[in-house]
């Protein structure tokens, strides 16, 4: 126990809020639940910032390298003298950065929801679920044991299910919640198997010890895990790939991305919290946490790289065609997370080589701010227009000035225009890619052009394009509680690029030198400006130009509009193949054989009891006869047969 033990309050405050609001919210404190939730999260956020200040600026460093500090540790389940599940809190650069991001964004979402969700019947339940989610996410990032992270991983999945399915009267929301949960649960199967493989070979479940054993090339655990192989790949590759599959499910990488667009059925502040800034980066966080082990296995890193790059490109292409504004933002999230993933993939461990790692974490930091700002802005728009579709919007810049300005800031940030935050983080990513893998670099530059294009297509469709015809403007742009987070996040999206992440969050803890290379940055900025120009040409004023261009692409446009039919393929596989070949026989066996066997036991027992029932006939002489027969039998047994 050291002086960081107050950090236990950071996840426990939201947990306490969840319990209080969940148990008593509906009846007693309905109108105050928002205030209670926000207040407790404010306390958590302040504590996180204080911890970050302490860690990064006062005493986290030893000899210029940030240390991993175990703040708390408690042995929960001991399997054997070496293997146990401990509950602990680890403080290292990425976890401290994450708690700041999570609590801050969650606080903004809480404040925004005070206005957005006002008048909801289940107001208290909403805040309870938000607190549960915050607790789970904080537990996930502070976990010091791989099984602990798995437990919180599942808890995050559950909270997300509850929040996506918040409007449970809508069947589409229920279906989306189920889809999210099932897809991520399926990915978690891979995660669990990966955990078991890694734990088996390294003999421990604790992150620090596991990394230490598997990266020391002389240790017996490393030799055993790399010499054992299965279907041609070493067990280390299998373990890491399976763990990555779990991460890919949560982070919506191809092909496990199908749940993310549908998850937009939840309330928009929820999308801002979960599907922009926190839950979807859990996969990236996991790879970063295990990064030293990933960095010694080339195959696993290549899988990470290519999956990330491909997801980024695919999502960007699809986002160019979507008309539901939340879905555009969802695909944009998938694309940006693809960036973070391949940035990790092209990185190596240690010193200057760890540039990709630092870039990925930097992008995570800035992306949290501008993406949640985009979602909250979309929420304000939807609140006014009562529709998600672009065709119902247009010309809203006069009706919602604050939303307009902050949305524009966020779009510029995501497009990578200097001096907004996105420029700095994207530049680092592109530099890391350029230094390792030119194909990925090329894809990334093209994708950043596409990103600028579709984001500004979105911006123009909402705020320009034509005159607004919104009928009821009685609640205007939204309450003050809805505008305040937009302003604060807008400021962060502007300034976050100047935070010296490079000196704080790196692969091995020592500071990295970064500088802006004008010649190198020119290319991405030019691509972004081109994308913005194209979007302006096509979308600023409503015209037929966009339709002409779309027809020019022909089949590709249609395929992208239909999200490349991936959902249909999944449906086909599950319905025709899995349900018919596996589901139906299994159901038949269950109903007829298993249930039939039990019924058989029951009816047999019934029949036997009918038979035996006759013995209690009430007739004394029968009883006397049985009695005497028993005595005879016993007498014969004991007198003649005993010895």
């Amino acid at each position: 126990m050291n002086h960081y033990s107050y950090i236990a309050l950071v996840p426990l405050l939201p947990l306490a809020t969840f319990l209080v609001l969940g148990l008593f919210g509906r009846k007693y404190v309905k109108t105050f639940s928002g205030t209670i939730g926000t207040a407790s999260l404010l306390a958590s956020a302040v504590l996180s910032l204080y911890t970050a200040y302490n860690y990064f600026f006062i005493d986290g460093k030893v000899n210029g390298v940030f240390q991993k500090i175990i703040a708390l540790k408690y042995t929960w389940l001991q399997f054997s003298p070496n293997v146990s599940i401990d509950m602990g809190i680890i403080l290292d650069p990425i976890s401290v950065m994450m708690i700041v991001v999570v609590t801050f964004v969650s606080l903004m979402v809480h404040v925004f929801s005070l206005g957005y969700m006002k008048g909801e019947e289940r107001f208290a339940t909403y805040y309870a679920f938000l607190s549960l989610f915050t607790f789970s996410m904080l537990g996930l990032v502070l976990a010091s044991n791989i099984f602990q992270i798995y437990m919180f991983w599942e808890l995050v999945g559950v909270s997300s299910f509850l929040l996506i399915g918040y409007y449970f009267e809508k069947p589409s929301a229920v279906a989306a919640a189920k889809k999210a949960f099932i897809v991520t649960r399926f990915a978690d199967l891979g995660f669990l198997i990966g955990i078991l493989i890694l734990a088996f070979y390294s003999g421990t479940l604790d992150f620090g010890v596991l990394i230490e054993r598997l990266t020391a090339t002389q240790s017996s655990q490393y030799i055993s895990i790399t010499s054992a192989s299965f279907l041609g790949a070493s067990m280390l590759t299998w373990g890491l790939t399976l763990v990555f599959i779990g991460g890919a499910g949560k982070s919506a990488m191809f092909p496990l991305h199908i749940w993310l667009p549908d998850a937009m059925e939840g309330p928009t502040p929820v999308s801002a919290l979960i599907h922009a800034a926190t839950m979807v980066v859990a996969g990236v966080y996991l790879v970063a946490r295990l990064f030293p082990v990933f960095s010694i296995d080339v195959t696993a890193l290549q899988i990470v790289t290519y999956v990330g790059a491909f997801s980024a490109l695919l999502a960007a292409v699809i986002a160019c065609t979507q008309t539901d504004i939340k879905r555009v933002l969802a695909y944009s999230t998938m694309s940006q997370i693809g960036y973070m993933m391949f940035a990790l993939g092209v990185s190596k461990y240690g010193g200057e080589n760890g540039l990709g790692y630092m870039a990925s974490m930097f992008h995570l930091f800035t992306h949290a701010f501008f993406k949640s700002l985009l979602f909250l802005g979309a929420g304000a728009v939807i609140h006014l227009v009562h529709s998600n579709e672009m065709k119902d919007m247009g010309g809203l810049r006069k009706l919602m000035p604050i939303t307009h300005i902050t949305f524009l800031i966020a779009c510029l940030a995501i497009a990578g225009i200097p001096p907004f935050s996105g420029f700095f983080s994207k530049e680092e990513i592109l530099l890391a890619a350029y230094q390792s893998n030119l194909l990925v670099y090329g894809l990334a530059v093209f994708t950043s052009g596409l990103t600028a294009f579709y984001m500004f297509r979105l911006y123009y469709s909402i705020f320009w394009s034509r005159e607004a015809h919104v009928h009821d403007t009685h609640h205007g742009e939204g309450t003050f509680s809805m505008k305040l987070p937009l302003i604060i996040l807008g400021a962060c999206a502007l300034m976050a690029g100047f935070v010296p992440i490079a000196s704080m969050v790196t692969s091995d803890g020592s500071a990295l030198e970064t500088h802006i290379d004008i010649k190198f940055s020119a290319l991405p900025v030019i691509m972004a400006v081109l994308g913005i120009a194209m979007a302006t040409y096509l979308y600023k004023v409503k015209s037929e130009r966009a339709v002409t261009v779309a027809e020019g692409f022909g089949g590709l446009y249609n395929a992208a509009l239909k999200k490349f039919y991936i959902d249909e393929i999944y449906l086909f596989v599950t319905k025709k193949i899995i349900f018919n070949l596996i589901g139906r026989p299994a159901a038949w066996i269950d109903k007829n054989i298993v249930d039939g066997f039990m019924n058989l036991l029951a009816t047999t027992t019934g029949k036997i009891s009918e038979l035996i029932k006759g013995f209690q006939s009430g007739k004394v002489q029968n009883y006397a006869l049985y009695f005497f027969g028993g005595i005879l039998g016993l007498a014969v047994l004991f007198i003649y047969l005993w010895n």
Binding site: Q616, K619, V620, Q621, F628
Partner: protein, 104 residues
Amino acid sequence: MNEITITHILFVSTALFFIGMYGLFTRRNMITMLMAVELILNSVNINFVAFNKYLYPGKLDGVFFTIFVITIAAAEAAVAIAIIINLYRSHNSIDVDDASELKY
């Protein structure tokens, strides 16, 4: 067989005992069941007297037991008849198969 030994008397009493048992199992009338019980008690009396006479001739314990058994058998027969009469009043029959309320 020139001498009647105790074994012969025991054979007689055993046979009487089992005759009484047969009556107890078979008879449907409660009064005839009582009669069979009396036969059983008498067989026991014969046993007591025989054992006393042949194995322990110096004492009189068997005789006393027999006297007491006779006494108690009389009391018991009286009580049994009282019960049978009571049962007859409620069921209006002394067929023992009619008094089967304790069946399943």
